[in-house]
């Protein structure tokens, strides 16, 4: 505990794997002193919890998550699909949740915006092709955390040193606060994510829409968890990213599928993925794309093998 108190009391920005922060040091979005968290004890392990779930330390790497969470296929697939092997080897789950937006304006020192301490959003009148498909606040950059999106579908709880535990949804808020990418307090340290036990026979699928095959931030992404009991969908969870300033869970889509037959009309449910979304002028294309990605993950989570029409394995 002392180590956490010492870290929290040290002036500076917290650093874990550094894969986001090092880039921000170069682009001028982090200039002050740094406090390394990598020495903090007990945070680099995945441990079982008494109820059959797992506790994932904040310093567990994305690579570990992809490899060691076979009971959580949707989460493991999400972790395996992001960034590159070199990044996944050192990037931490805590850092992934708390990373800053990849908005090209935010990362360019020539611009100022509400997120970098200034006013307004230059993307609104500029190039916002990669912006949100649901305009919720002053910032139009989608949230970058794919893992945060996946965790939303698990009722995961994050443990915090220096503050109360909270849900992942509470960690991110509703997306109306354009000044920050998460709602963790200044000197709070995210220490772990606690997952409930997997569902019996649960299946998962993850997909991202990109231009290139690998290593590209998604235009939109989606994850689905489904369990089927006696010919009925007994649990279904759908999360999406690239859509809003925070990761979203699509309760509306879920409710259309729940208790239905697994060979029921998926497209009608997927069509509800964009209900109520307010795209920007340049992101209307994301609406059909989002419906398509949701349809794809639902289909794959229900039919099982991660294969495309041509039989080739999908990333």
């Amino acid at each position: 505990m002392t180590a956490f108190i010492t870290a929290a009391a040290t002036i500076g920005e917290f650093r874990a794997g550094g894969t986001d922060l090092s880039e921000r040091r170069r682009s001028g979005r982090s200039t002050g002193p740094l406090v390394d968290l990598t020495g903090l004890p007990g945070l680099a392990e995945i441990t079982p919890t008494p109820d059959g779930g797992v506790r994932i330390g904040a310093l567990v790497t994305v690579e570990q998550m992809a490899r060691d969470l076979s009971g959580y296929p949707a989460l493991a697939a999400t972790a395996a699909a992001l960034a590159t092997p070199e990044i996944r080897a050192v990037a931490t789950v805590g850092g992934n949740l708390l990373q800053h937006t990849r908005c090209t304006y935010y990362r360019n020192p020539a611009f100022s915006c509400v997120k970098s301490g200034g006013d307004g959003c230059p993307a609104r009148t500029g190039v916002a092709h990669h912006g949100v498909a649901d305009d919720r606040g002053p910032c139009v950059a989608p949230h970058p955390s794919s893992i945060g999106m996946a965790l939303l579908t698990y009722d995961a709880v994050v443990e915090v040193s220096g503050g109360p535990a909270r849900t992942v949804a509470a960690l991110f808020g509703d997306g109306s606060d354009g000044t920050r990418d998460h709602q963790l307090g200044d000197r709070e340290i995210l220490t772990a994510i606690v997952l409930p036990p997997p569902l019996p026979g649960e299946r998962g699928a993850y997909e991202r829409a990109t231009s290139r095959r690998f290593a590209e931030w998604p235009l939109v992404e989606a994850v689905a968890r489904i369990s089927v009991t006696e010919g009925r969908i007994t649990t279904v969870r759908v999360g999406v990213g690239g859509v809003a300033p925070v990761p979203l869970r699509l309760v509306g889509v879920e409710s259309l599928l729940l208790d239905g037959a697994p060979d029921g009309p998926l497209a009608a449910a997927a069509a509800a993925a964009t209900d109520g979304l307010r795209p920007l002028p340049h992101t209307a294309y994301k609406l059909p794309l989002l419906r398509a990605v949701v349809l794809d993950v639902l289909h794959r989570a229900l039919t099982g093998p991660d294969q495309d029409a041509a039989g080739a394995p999908r990333p």
């Binding site: 794997g17 550094g18 390394d36 080897a89 050192v90 009148t125 190039v127 690998f214 059909p288 041509a310």
Partner: protein, 881 residues
């Protein structure tokens, strides 16, 4: 942040490190001097900086230096000074490299994958999917991916456990071990670090550049003004001044205190609003000074109307062409087509940035280490600019980490380094960062082409092209003019316009104008064939009089993938496949003044030429050309130094047809000289015939130490196209090269992603000097064409003119997972008038690729893309129509 003393095991040796570097890559390169590790993107995207941390590959540009404490670090140097790892050997044997700048990063990732794979899957061969996923954190701008994939598969299968024979590329060992030295790796004692102050305005008069505070900052030795006499900046990011300081950190600190006073001028930031927009160039002198993105002859002189330059018109009965097209449109002729095609600006973004180390000595000599495609030309340009005798200037470029046209002229890094070195009286190195590289380090201009064409079936009856180039402050897009060189001699009007804006300039990029030309015309030809229900290759064959390309059409038509391709848009599933074809031609340039010196040294031959190697294989071409004349002899090649005999610029596909004949000429001269020395009767490739039999060359050489000759490139049979025209040593030869691409794509109609699955690339460039290297360059040309077709797009902010795609995350070049399977077919006849029988291929091999992708997408889906890149959103929008 002070790191404090750390204990790190570096390449097997325990070290105590005390360094204030923030990231591991700075510690490794600057602190430890281990320059095999390269810094390219600084964002974990390209993998050039990959090292092993406790045996696992990580990106050292993002790794905090503190993360090394208590751990084992292995850099490429740690794998051994000779290529000992099976993957290194495999990379050499499969030629999985060109410029070599990304190679150490690939070697580190691939060696780690190899070791793990062999431990877990002994005897097994990983599939393409597995190796591309493992290497997905790496980018190679030359596009040597095919060789890399084959190398990793072969090494994992145990095919390279023993040293292989000599690699196809002579400098491969230096590149796979990280010992090849690039300009960014060169340091000299007392060297200062230079940085460039850039404009924060798109258009402004600069009233004041205050360098006093910067000069007073600790460690700062010099500050110079770089702005022209009109004291005007015309794009966001334009160089204004430069400073030199003892360390990169002190230079950065000083940069922040340079005060620039601007008076804003209204800026033209949008080509579509250029009419009535603020004028970029207000007088003749300014227009004359506008940079150009053209290659070869300078852009034709023409007039200006505000920001619109042109048209520069080339016509063959142009008025008749327009009359025919108007009449055909009027009567709705089924052979008439009108369409608009757009291309995006494509950045060169060679992985080694522009860099110059200038050392201007008190004795008047000026030595430059520069990442340049033209050591000899740069020497002359520098001498002219600073009024020096060319003999006082020495330009060195031992290895060049890619260029693609962006390093042919004198660039800002060189100007700044020379000025700073003169001012400081010390050597100064200026290295552009990735953002600078992507802002004004080079791009192909964007274009809009209004295409109109008419056919009666048998031939192209009439053609009109109006192209509007979008090269920011630069001119010379020269697209429509290329319509003069193909598909018969029917009437045509070809007009090129440039629309200048207050955006960063373009410069020549691999086949300038050719790729946008093909994107429009080759899709037009395809569309007409489609409407006529005719095979697009058969139609081209009828229209195209080029005999060399006819040979390519014949081979392409016989490909099973072409013969079995079926009707357009016949698929119904989510993933739809299609096959498209496109053709191109390109000019044959050469440097007729090229000379190669050849001398006997230590029983071996040493060839010298003031050429350079940016990855295309100049060393290997010279070694091969000489070696063919001297069986059994080892040939050393010294290039990359302007002190050598005159050599060509590596641009305009002119390198090989310039250096290879000169090398052969030198070898023949030397053979004759040696024959006389030993009193032989004749000389052949095997040796000298004497009365007592044939004396083999290795033995003859031991008796002729120091013999020296210089071979000259000489003329082509029948002379050159324009006999008396030599532009900065460049000549235009007779004949045009040809290419035909047959491309298969798969379109994901659900998510809008287009993948190129297979490309057949037929090239008619005559005799191939070094087949494996030529194939590698052709494969890379295809991959750059795929990037142009599907991903690459330079974007700027419409309000400020700032380039937004200023990192390799936002500016997307093809990765290894996007590599199609590529067959390269060489048709080697038709260039018998050229000494050696072959010409260059780097440009003609890339020009038609994007158009073949567009035609394949049309064949797959029935939707014809007209705007590049073919992004997912455009695909979905197009399919929804």
């Amino acid at each position: 942040m002070k790191v404090g003393a750390m204990k790190v095991e570096i390449n097997g040796e325990s070290r105590e490190i005390d360094d204030d570097a923030e990231t591991a890559v700075e510690l490794i390169r600057d602190g430890l001097g281990l320059t095999g590790t390269k810094l390219v993107c600084g964002g974990g995207v390209c993998g050039a900086c990959t090292v092993h941390l406790d045996g696992r590959p990580v990106a050292s540009c993002l790794l905090p230096a503190t993360a090394l404490d208590g751990h084992a670090l292995t850099t490429v140097e740690g794998l051994g000074s000779t290529p000992e790892h099976p993957f290194q050997r495999a990379m050499m044997a499969h030629d999985g490299l060109q410029c070599g700048f990304c190679t150490p990063g690939f070697v580190m990732a691939g060696s780690a994958f190899h070791d793990r794979w062999r431990a877990e899957n002994p005897g097994a061969r990983p599939d393409r999917e597995q190796v591309t996923a493992a290497l997905s954190g790496h980018l190679c701008r030359c596009g040597a991916y095919e060789g890399i994939i084959a190398a990793l598969q072969g090494a994992c299968a145990g095919e390279f456990d023993e040293p292989a024979g000599a690699p196809p590329r002579v400098e491969a060992a230096a590149k796979v071990t990280g010992s090849a030295r690039y300009t960014v790796d060169v340091t000299v004692p007392g060297m200062l670090h230079g940085l460039i102050v850039r404009s924060q305005r798109a258009h402004a008069r600069v009233d004041r550049v205050d360098l006093v505070a910067a000069l007073a900052a600790p460690g700062v030795s010099a500050a110079v003004d770089l702005l022209g006499e009109d004291r005007t900046v015309r794009y966001h990011g334009q160089p204004i001044a430069a400073i030199a300081a003892s360390t990169p950190a002190t230079a950065r600190a000083a940069l922040a205190v340079v005060a620039v006073g601007y008076t804003d001028l209204p800026a033209a930031l949008d080509v579509t609003g250029a009419e009535g927009a603020p004028v970029v160039y207000t007088d003749k002198a300014q227009r004359k000074a506008a940079p150009s993105s053209a290659e070869g002859p300078p852009p034709l002189p023409t007039w200006w109307d505000g920001n619109v330059r042109g048209p520069a018109t080339i016509s063959l009965r142009g008025r008749r062409a327009v009359r025919m097209l108007d009449a055909a449109a009027e009567r709705a002729d089924p052979g008439y087509l009108a369409a608009t095609f757009r291309t995006a600006a494509q950045a060169h973004t060679a992985l080694e940035p522009h860099a110059t180390l200038a050392d201007w000595r008190a004795d008047g000599t000026l030595t430059l280490h520069a990442s340049t495609q033209a050591v000899a030309h740069l020497r002359d340009a520098v001498a002219a600019r600073w009024k020096l005798d060319a003999r006082q200037v020495h330009v060195v470029a031992e290895h060049v980490g890619g260029g693609f046209g962006a390093k042919t002229a004198m660039t800002t890094d060189t100007v700044a380094a020379v000025e700073l070195s003169r001012a400081a009286g010390a050597p100064v190195r200026v290295v552009l960062d990735r953002a600078e590289e992507l802002i004004d380090g080079g791009s192909r201009p964007g274009t809009r082409t209004e295409l109109r064409m008419l056919t009666d079936g048998d031939r192209l009856t009439a053609l009109a092209l109006d192209t509007y180039g979008d090269g920011g402050v630069s001119i010379g897009s020269q697209v429509a003019a290329l319509g003069a060189f193909g598909y018969g001699r029917g009437p045509r009007r070809l007009r090129d316009f440039d629309v200048v804006t207050n955006i960063a300039p373009s410069c020549p990029f691999r086949g300038p104008g050719g790729a946008p030309f093909a994107w429009a015309v080759e899709q037009g030809v395809d569309e007409l064939a489609h409407r006529r229900g005719e095979d697009p290759i058969a139609l081209r064959r009828r229209w195209d009089g080029n005999r060399k390309r006819h040979a390519l059409y014949d081979t392409a038509s016989a490909l099973p993938r072409w013969r079995n391709r079926g009707p357009a848009a016949s698929g119904t599933g989510r993933f739809r496949r299609g096959v498209g074809v496109a053709a191109a031609n390109w000019f044959y340039f050469l440097d007729g003044d090229t000379r190669v010196a050849l001398t006997v040294r230590g029983g071996r031959l040493l060839a010298r030429c003031a050429v350079q190697d940016m990855g295309t294989g100049s060393r290997t071409v010279i070694a091969t050309a000489v070696g063919e004349q001297f069986a059994g002899v080892d040939v050393d090649v010294e290039i990359g130094n302007s002190d050598g005999p005159h050599g060509p610029m590596s641009g305009g596909s002119r390198t090989t047809p310039s250096i290879a004949p000169a090398a052969v000429a030198a070898a023949r001269l030397l053979r004759e000289q040696l024959r006389q020395r030993v009193g032989g009767t004749a000389a052949g490739a095997d040796g000298v015939r004497t009365a007592s039999g044939v004396r083999a060359w290795p033995e003859v050489l031991t008796t002729c130490e120091g013999a020296l000759v210089t071979g000259e490139r000489g003329r082509d049979r029948g002379g050159f196209l324009v006999p008396f025209l030599s532009m900065d040593h460049m000549r235009i030869g007779r004949g045009m090269s040809g290419s035909v691409q047959v491309t298969e794509v798969e379109v994901d109609t659900l998510l809008g992603m287009t993948r190129v699955l297979r490309v057949w690339s037929g090239l008619a460039v005559g005799r191939i000097w070094v087949p494996r290297l030529a194939r590698n360059q052709a494969e890379g040309s295809v991959i750059q064409g795929v990037g142009f077709a599907l991903y690459e797009q330079r974007l700027h902010d419409p309000n400020t003119g700032e380039i937004l795609t200023s990192n390799l995350e936002d500016y997307r070049i093809p990765g290894i997972g996007d590599t199609p399977e590529i067959d390269v077919h060489f048709y080697e006849q038709g260039w018998e008038h050229v000494p050696g029988g072959g010409i260059g291929l780097g440009e003609v091999a890339t020009i038609a690729v994007a158009a073949s992708v567009g035609n394949a997408v049309h064949h797959a889906t029935g939707w014809r893309p007209t705007e590049l890149p073919i992004r997912p959103d455009r695909v979905l929008e197009g399919l929804a129509r």
